[in-house]
Symmetry: C2
Subunit: 271 residues, 2 copies
DNA sequence: CGTAGGCTTGATTCTTGTCAACCGCGGTGG
DNA sequence: CCACCGCGGTTGACAAGAATCAAGCCTACG
């Protein structure tokens, strides 16, 4: 999982920054200059590692930093009083968690590492500094935020209006496209280091039912599973099954108000 | 519904601005100065009216403005290929819809008026200007964004992990607290101008099932319904039934990094 | 006065959950 | 080195919550 092929779409990333997942991701959202890439590269130069199944932020604590996932997978989840849990957001390489740090409130949920992760911590002050002085990066972060919201809405649609087959198919498609965006889609295969229980806690289903649908998908040759690697053999069939379209992921960012304005601002047009 | 009692919590709003729902709402998130209130008041001075059931933004179009709801209720929803629909977000007075305008992308969903609404349109340029030059307002808008995300997550929890009773109870509680935040909670009564079909499309249930649960709630004296007014007779029972806590609504904002930083920035600490 | 949309209710079906058992594997400790 | 243990996956039998189908009612509105 260390090897990343060039990310698909977005503006080209200079060769030297191609192993930086944050840059690969944000390049989808705004045309980053080489200088921008340099800033981002420096931003995530202080690495930390955490083991699988360790909490990065725990419910009730006040997060001190915004974290960027550089490698591995993390998840935002909530434990419920009745013993259940709901997994809400998966963080892949290049994803930011959690802007929540900027408002310095105790969290109402936790974030934990699913696999061993490599992370970079960014102080809120540094983050605000970026917003103030790097217009293209700010624009990209803004798009990133819009993408996060769109993914939450899409999850709501899936949970509210799709049956078990549709939910699972949608989830696999979304993960594939997210991996594709950061250059980690290898032959329609994606790393899904989740147990069936975790999948159930993501999609509002029981592990037993997840198991049955996955079995059906396997028998129908829609997917192939080996170890933690899942291959989507019939992507179009899965997309149709769930009504999935990748539009909401905003992976073809073009010029927009935020970018335009911020760049003009930087050039002194308003100052 | 025009009469608004003083909003509960947040920093006090100067008397003269008390009929401005945006100010009432944002005062929960940052300590607004009188000057800030003036800016916000001017920001929403250009009013528009739209009739019930009219689309404000339609799927596929590129929104030109950010709208603020001043009066009435609107909803963000998506129509599905199979004829179903999912309602995602309800906009009450003081709510902003839709920051999406800032990224100038065709929308993957629609926003429409549920009741007749009074709106104010804000141009993206003006919005960016606010971000650049009004730190406390920016901070409040940031909190506002975090609140929106939190509400989406809470919906996911409800749809993924709660049964019909829990979902409906949670939704009623959330609406009550949101109304409370803008001073429109009158004796635990709230205006819910939704059909049972719309409630179903919100909570992933059929109208028939919504009907049965509401009947049960009525028989158990948990709620009282008259016309479009719903009274939560046993709020604590409803909160318990759904595991609801209002924490995620962030209605007790305190000093935080965004505010601090933006204010220092404005004072020239970093320039 | 007629009609359509929304509400209400009953009968029935079906998707998903629950309970229970078994298998296989990897890790651990004797 | 091997026995044991626990977790995750798999499967079957059964139960339950919600959907579906269908019909009647009320009321706002043209």
């Amino acid at each position: 999982m260390e090897q990343a092929s060039a990310a698909v779409g977005g503006t080209p990333v200079p060769e030297e920054f191609n192993d930086n997942a944050l840059i690969r991701k944000l390049s989808h959202f705004a045309p980053l200059s080489v200088a921008d890439c340099g800033v981002l590269d420096e931003l995530v130069s202080q690495e930390e590692r955490m083991s699988a199944r360790v909490d990065i932020f725990s419910e009730g604590t006040v997060p001190q930093y915004v974290f960027v996932v550089l490698e591995g997978m993390a998840v935002r989840y909530r434990d419920l009083p009745d013993g259940g849990r709901q997994l809400m957001t998966f963080f892949l390489p290049g994803d930011l968690c959690d802007m929540h740090a900027l408002i310095a409130k105790p969290m109402d949920h936790s974030i934990s590492a699913i696999t061993p992760v490599r992370l970079a911590a960014i102080s809120p002050a540094r983050m605000m500094d970026i917003f103030a002085h790097h217009p293209r990066i700010s624009a990209a972060l803004w798009w990133n935020l819009m993408q996060e919201e769109a993914m939450l809405r899409e999850r709501i649609v899936a949970l509210g209006r799709r049956d078990a087959r549709g939910r699972i198919a949608y989830f696999l498609c979304e993960m594939l496209w997210r991996y594709t965006a950061i250059g980690m889609n290898n032959q329609q295969s994606l790393l899904l280091p989740l147990t069936q229980t975790e999948l159930g806690d993501t999609l509002g289903l029981t592990p037993v039912h997840i198991n049955r649908i996955l079995k059906e998908f396997r028998e129908n040759k829609l997917i192939k599973v080996q170890n933690k690697m899942m291959t989507l053999l019939k992507l179009s069939a899965l997309q149709q099954l769930s009504g999935f379209t990748k539009d909401y992921l905003l992976l073809d960012g073009t010029t927009n108000y935020v970018t335009k304005y911020l760049i003009e601002e930087a050039n002194g047009a308003y100052h």
